[in-house]
Subunit: 246 residues, 4 copies
């Protein structure tokens, strides 16, 4: 496949990556090297242009490099694992709140039939819509600019749920009601205090409670000097997980 | 949804989980507690029966507890992240070899239009087919009992590739040929020596090389005594990742 | 140096290690291989006897394999780092409570002029004394079978302090009093709840607060197949650290 | 104890630390706050002066903040564990090469009777001497500006050994000769390739081979929001460990 004007392209220069829209007259300059975007148009994915490789961005590239962030995002290392762990089937309807910057919605939308996502903050809500539109994502996502607590939602109507808000214990009873029996709900929280508080509230509503964190450790790719990078992201969020008990 | 005879059910007893088929007359006994399978039939997901909770198994439950293993499996912590990292779109055709016990094929099949998977070992091949059939998975997977090296495959016909064999460097040129330009290939390997060898062979065929490992750390869920479990799985595989350069 | 009767010897058989006292007529049997202790007497450290290597045990070997444990011990990975982090000088007097099984006292005694250690439980206290005596350790340790709270201790008389009790916040004011100005105190605690509670109490007494955990990851030593072990110890304790503010 | 001119002082301002010599007329300015060093003279350790706490530096503070680095240092997290793991007794003579910036020598000198350390590079050698002198360390260390390979050293004369050079396999036979039977030798190496190569050479000379890495994970100390820091040091070195076989 070859790139055409208006496409998003992942430009790789050694260890660094950039996600850019192919707009006429624009270019990217890195450490003395320049790639002009009109030189990418018509080229095939994977080609080398000067010092640069050009690729079509994956969902991970889009989330990490393309999405405008107005909130902390759910990182791909967490989002990808959680999405599958929710046990979503292609016929499923999934609930999410808060939408935040829309990263998790995009991931869920690949596995579910439809995703309903709630975001009370209008600024965040609009940003998420824009992120999805820009990259052609989330056609099966229904986004509501509304606090989930005040939303009208039918009981027993969701097959899975993902919650990313500061005080999830406030929402537990309602989540419990709208989830189908036995179905999975996942939460992300940055602090141990929040995890403790959530767990103590969950016991009445959920069973098979799980708490975990995912650590992603990158290695340098010199085959003669294989070793981890000096620095790593040591923490994004704790993930809490439960299944609706009846 | 309520369980009926023949269904697979996830039975949770405190920290332990069991995946069982609901066969008349059968039961499960754990530390002096018994659950008779005929008592599960007709019950809703999420119900408590005596000391036990009963749930419908997720894909992760099926892979970890339901699949017969004739090989080391790709663990969900790795499989779920890799599957999304491959950048698969719903219209994509994905290549996999070797099939092994079929865990990764099942994960890939949720994201791709179709998965072509190759396994030279007839014993493994049959086991994978059985695993999928038992749990109603992989309807969009074409499985070949054949070494990928000798298989006839059209060039530039796959949108992503996943490789789980001992000596992946033997296959690189062919993988390169059958992948479309710029597309992603991922490898799993247990040892650093293999990673080094693979990297040194990949440089000619792939760009944007990445190596990483994923660590999953579970916590005990007592809210008053939140702490990691004493033991964790410290290693499953290194993941190597590259994009086809043209 | 050669072994004589009554010595403690570390016997290594492939990946496994055993710490034994050389008593006439005794032997060790592992997977069909036997080493008779009279055959070790007179042999030099490092020699191979049949399938076994014999060594003089290090402090780590003694703590991990020789000490009788009536309590959870402070693991060498934590103890060795903490001991140095306390900033002990050869002229220093160090305070410890509770003594537990005596592992940390033994480590501290290598760096300090003297260690004063308090243990309220008589059973633990006697066990620690026995552990030290058996291996000739802790000649510069003064052990008290007494709760530190009720002990008479001079103010500003210790150069460092190590605390291993369940509710360390009960002791903070007294620890503060007996430590010299600016000196370091370290605590070990298994749960995040305890860490939070301790931190909230420490702020009035200590500055430069630090919390950390130490993870030790072992690799298999086959040079052709270098890789981490499958399992690791994922958690022993959180370490909390502060310096006495005036 | 109170500070006097010429002392080294650890100045703590919130999360940041600085190690400075108390020189008249000097001061430290951080984010709009200033501490004049003449105001520290005469103050006791642990006192608060404006926004700053002042402490006497520990060995860890000195290594991390005070030592001039001409080489990668052995980090305290590794150095402290290794030093004890070497099994050093107060009567022991320990061998080290290369000296590097002198951090490990300083740690070893706290446990051993004497440390003999070799450094071929004159620039590094002089820097290490200066580091020790500046902080009054290493009185029991004999430093040689000489490659260990060409040094005259008596056989069976060391009770432990620490090696920090790029190609340790070149030195194995000589290390073996000068170590006493059964005694411990530790190596630090940054890459897996070096670890593999070293292990393959060690098997003839050493038994009880071990390879490990130590990860230190820090937490933010807000008791209401306990959580790991976002970033951590993910890699310093692999540690290889063996005991001289006879």
């Amino acid at each position: 496949m070859s790139f055409k004007e208006g496409d998003y392209v992942l430009i790789v220069h050694k260890d660094r990556k950039y996600l850019r829209k192919l707009v006429k007259g624009m270019s990217l300059n890195i450490r003395g090297h320049t790639i002009h975007f009109q030189d990418i148009v018509g080229k095939d994915e994977g080609q080398k242009i000067g010092e640069f490789f050009v690729f079509s961005p994956t969902l991970e590239d889009i989330i990490l490099l393309g999405f405008e962030r107005k909130t902390q995002i759910v990182y791909p290392k967490d989002a990808f694992y959680i999405a599958f762990k929710l046990g979503i089937k292609p016929t499923d309807r999934v609930l999410e709140f808060g939408t935040g910057s829309g990263a998790m919605s995009a991931v869920l939308s690949f596995l579910a039939k439809e995703v309903w996502t709630y975001e009370a903050d209008t600024n965040f809500y609009n940003n998420a819509l824009k992120n999805w539109e820009r990259f052609g994502l989330c056609y099966n996502v229904k986004a509501f600019n509304e606090n989930f607590l005040s939303a009208f939602v039918e009981e027993n109507s969701f097959d899975a749920c993902f919650v990313d808000v500061k005080e999830p214990w406030e929402y537990l009873e309602k989540v419990w009601k709208v989830l189908k029996g036995g179905k999975v709900c996942a939460f992300v929280l940055p602090t141990t205090n929040q995890v403790s508080k959530l767990l103590s509230h969950m016991q009445a509503f959920f069973a098979d409670l799980q708490v975990f964190e995912i650590l992603l450790r990158h290695y340098k790719t010199n085959p003669e000097r294989l070793r981890p990078y000096d620095q790593m992201i040591a923490h994004t969020a704790y993930v809490v997980f439960g299944r609706k008990r009846m």
